[in-house]
């Protein structure tokens, strides 16, 4: 194969933008949950269950987990692009990262809606 450096993938802007938007979503969630925990301070399992019985809390929590995983994917891929230069190894790690993040999202859905 010819060894030449080719760049110009014509993507990157969306990832950069998504990383910022997901950061804002996560910040709002953490502040809001912090406020709820300070105000209502659920002490036992029943109170926690009651809190997450609220549909809006569930939806926002899921939004938070999706944001977290999407944000983590972009960040981890950035680290891999910087430090892992062997294409095969990088692709393998990237696939593993995507699979584990997907598992986390499904797991989060299961926990929130169980």
């Amino acid at each position: 194969m010819v060894r030449r450096i080719v760049t110009g993938a014509h993507y990157g802007l969306l990832d950069w933008l998504v990383q910022r938007i997901t950061a804002v979503v996560m910040t709002i969630y953490v502040l809001l949950m912090g406020l709820i925990l300070i105000v209502s301070a659920p002490h036992d399992y029943v109170a926690w269950k009651e809190l997450f019985a609220n549909q809006w809390i569930r939806i926002f929590s899921l939004l938070f987990f999706v944001s977290l995983c999407w944000h983590a994917w972009i960040g981890l891929r950035n680290i891999l692009m910087d430090y892992v230069h062997e294409t095969g190894i990088r692709l393998t790690i990237q696939v593993l990262v995507i699979l584990s993040l997907l598992v986390y999202v499904v797991w989060a859905i299961e926990i929130i809606w169980s």
């Binding site: 450096i5 760049t7 993507y11 990157g12 802007l13 990832d15 950069w16 692009m81 430090y83």
Partner: protein, 231 residues
């Protein structure tokens, strides 16, 4: 004054080493470059690039006590002893303080660092309003000394693919120029996870620039232009 200077001559040395110099400076030796020229009277094999000796040509970029800068505009009075001098980090060393700048200039050339305007040239100049001209302040002053790009970790890891802060500052210089007509092509050329988006706003470039320019700000303006045309 005590100096510890990186020495490497590929014809003679197996490995680079640090050489100590203890020299008496003359009263006229105000800048680090003066001191280096004084050292060359003791050991003329010490190799470095220099030309204008007033911070305009950008030839004598080097790592001074751990920070990149131009020797000719760095006062010796501000330096802690021993003054540790190394070549600019991340680029291949040719000899002593001289590095091979090929990759740096390849990235610079890749952004087409010239005005692209297909209109027939007017009788006189292509005029700009004072406001349009003001857009270029803080971006046109770059002397291409490579202090910023060689201080940038993203450039260290991907010097073949990431344009680097110097190249991107120049890219913005032409994107911001009201006389240039190739903004869309320039943005197309930069929209790439490596060429532009390796910048993680580490801001070593801002910290190190001897001309006190702000490449990170220029890079963010490029990203802003991309957002504007896409969203």
């Amino acid at each position: 004054m005590r100096f510890s200077i990186y020495r490497f001559d590929p014809d003679k040395d197996v490995k680079p080493y640090m050489q100590e110099f203890d020299i008496m400076l003359e009263p006229a030796d105000k800048m680090l470059l003066d001191a280096l020229i004084r050292i060359k009277t003791v050991d003329d094999s010490l190799s470095l690039r220099r030309s204008c000796r007033e911070g305009v040509c950008g030839s004598d970029g080097m790592n001074i006590n751990g920070r990149n800068g131009l020797a000719c505009i760095t006062p010796v009075s501000e330096l802690k002893e021993p003054v540790v001098l190394r070549p600019l980090p991340g680029l291949p060393v040719i000899r002593d303080l001289i590095v091979d700048m090929t990759q740096f200039f390849q990235q610079y050339h890749s952004i087409k660092p010239y005005l692209i305007n297909n209109d027939p040239p007017p009788e006189t100049e292509r005029l700009q309003s004072p406001e349009e001209r003001a857009e270029l302040d803080g971006v046109y002053e770059c002397v291409l000394c490579a202090c910023c790009s060689t201080a940038c970790p993203s450039f260290w890891w991907n010097p073949d693919k990431f344009v680097g802060p110097a190249g991107l500052l120049q890219a913005y210089r032409f994107l911001a120029d009201s006389r240039d007509q190739a903004a869309a092509e320039r943005l197309d050329n930069l929209e790439d996870p490596y060429r532009l988006f390796r910048c993680h706003s580490i801001m070593n470039c801002v910290d190190t620039c001897p001309k006190e320019l702000n490449p990170t700000k220029a890079i963010n303006k490029i990203k802003g232009m991309m957002v504007k045309r896409t969203v």
